[in-house]
Symmetry: C2
Subunit: 309 residues, 2 copies
Amino acid sequence: MSLTVVGSIAFDAVKTPFGEREKMLGGSAVHFALAASFFTDVRVVGPVGEDFGSDQLAVLEGRGVATDDIERIEGGETFFWRGHYEHDMNVAHTDETQLNVFEHFEPKLSEASRASEVLFLGNIQPDLQRQVRAEATGACFAALDSMNLWIDIARDSLLAAIGEIDCLLLNDAELRMLTGKPNLALAAEAVMELGPSIVVAKRGEYGAALFTADDTFAIPALPLTEVRDPTGAGDSFAGGFLGYLDGAGAGEGAASISGEELRRAMAFGSTMASFNVQDFGTERVSCLSRDEIDARVGEFKALTHFEHS
Amino acid sequence: MSLTVVGSIAFDAVKTPFGEREKMLGGSAVHFALAASFFTDVRVVGPVGEDFGSDQLAVLEGRGVATDDIERIEGGETFFWRGHYEHDMNVAHTDETQLNVFEHFEPKLSEASRASEVLFLGNIQPDLQRQVRAEATGACFAALDSMNLWIDIARDSLLAAIGEIDCLLLNDAELRMLTGKPNLALAAEAVMELGPSIVVAKRGEYGAALFTADDTFAIPALPLTEVRDPTGAGDSFAGGFLGYLDGAGAGEGAASISGEELRRAMAFGSTMASFNVQDFGTERVSCLSRDEIDARVGEFKALTHFEHS
């Protein structure tokens, strides 16, 4: 089993009511890969600039993530995002975005990345997502994330990309925007008509919901007293979710995944997101242990359990 | 066991993308009482005008709700609310409010209402809530709902009222506003320092969360494909929650309620809210059966269940 992720690798500058960092490792592919690394072998595909150093690579490699498909662009600078959060940490305010090497990113998959059984298409331009999907011939299970920008300016491309994957992960507001259906259950049904058999609605501090043709599952987020930086929570969720699924055999194809496994994957995804937000950037997830993860999945179970006599 | 509710009795005019009603029975005490009536004996205290007729009383009495403390004000008109919902049904837009007989409401509790073991103070002016709490000498368990208006204009009264009850139910945004704590878990802790040992955060389409000194529980809402009118969902939740608790012996005092019972009460509250939103006003809840309710609690359990091996 092996999981390839294509997406952004970034330096983030983040300020929240609980502190700030001027230049820390971030990006959707990074948060995803670190979270997934606890469950399976992970390969990262994405571009960096000359400013991306061995310290950053060491964070990924320290978790066993394969970095050979991280492409270093000579003379280039790494994607940079600056943002801040007010007391309502559900809303990220973007102050600056420098696409840098990401602007002309042409994903190049090595033999090994093409052979991965599971593929995650992080939030990049939908035509690039389609191109990667087509190249990743070994992937029997592909999932995709996107954002409001692409729904706005590249809707047809995005719909085509969604038609070629097994699992769509989006924020609930984006699911509504994409389908024009304000009702989330109906929005999920509309997505399933486009192709994916699995739809995950990410709901920030409210958790996440899962829709398939014959099941609906919802899991609240853990009400944490300590939330320091939500950046990357959605990608950490996706990494835990797909990493767990790959470990559970999703590489055999979507039809091979049981509803029970999907529900557990939602709990592992939620768990990785909950750790992510407890500290800045990758600081918490990169130094986690599998025992801590399992214990927190147990906390999620305790959070939602009740007996119906 | 017996549960008294003090709150508004109203005529509502509501328009949603799925239909409209010009003058239907509503109000916090009505929605609460109907939901609670499936679990315990309920008494309603509140004012109506001469326009409130036997048809409206029959809806309550049809569910066995005691209406002797509904006070008919001669020459008065019943509280009237007109509102509408856009496609985002989480936000109620108020178009018109006529307080009418509610403007000078002086709650009068009969002997029987004062003797109820459980008391629910619906969303009315906090000094009135305190007055009712003081009169309801039989109540060993009292819960309170409020709204942003009172946090704004009667904050000290509201804090005093909260100091005299066992359980506070508020929307999560209102809990943050009341305590000045954007983190929900910390907001709940701050409320517990004011007096209540049980704090329930209502979260609309995202469900509800429960906080006590030694437990945290969260339950998502059921993702329904059919949501016709959310008016009264929060009061239906409170009715199911407190009605179930009264039936389970909450009248012995907050300390007598087990964590397991509180969690089940959250599921029954969520269940009653889920029925409420499926049709206009009281139309769905007033014709429910207990079997339907139990089956839906089972759906909530299925919605959130996962095995952690």
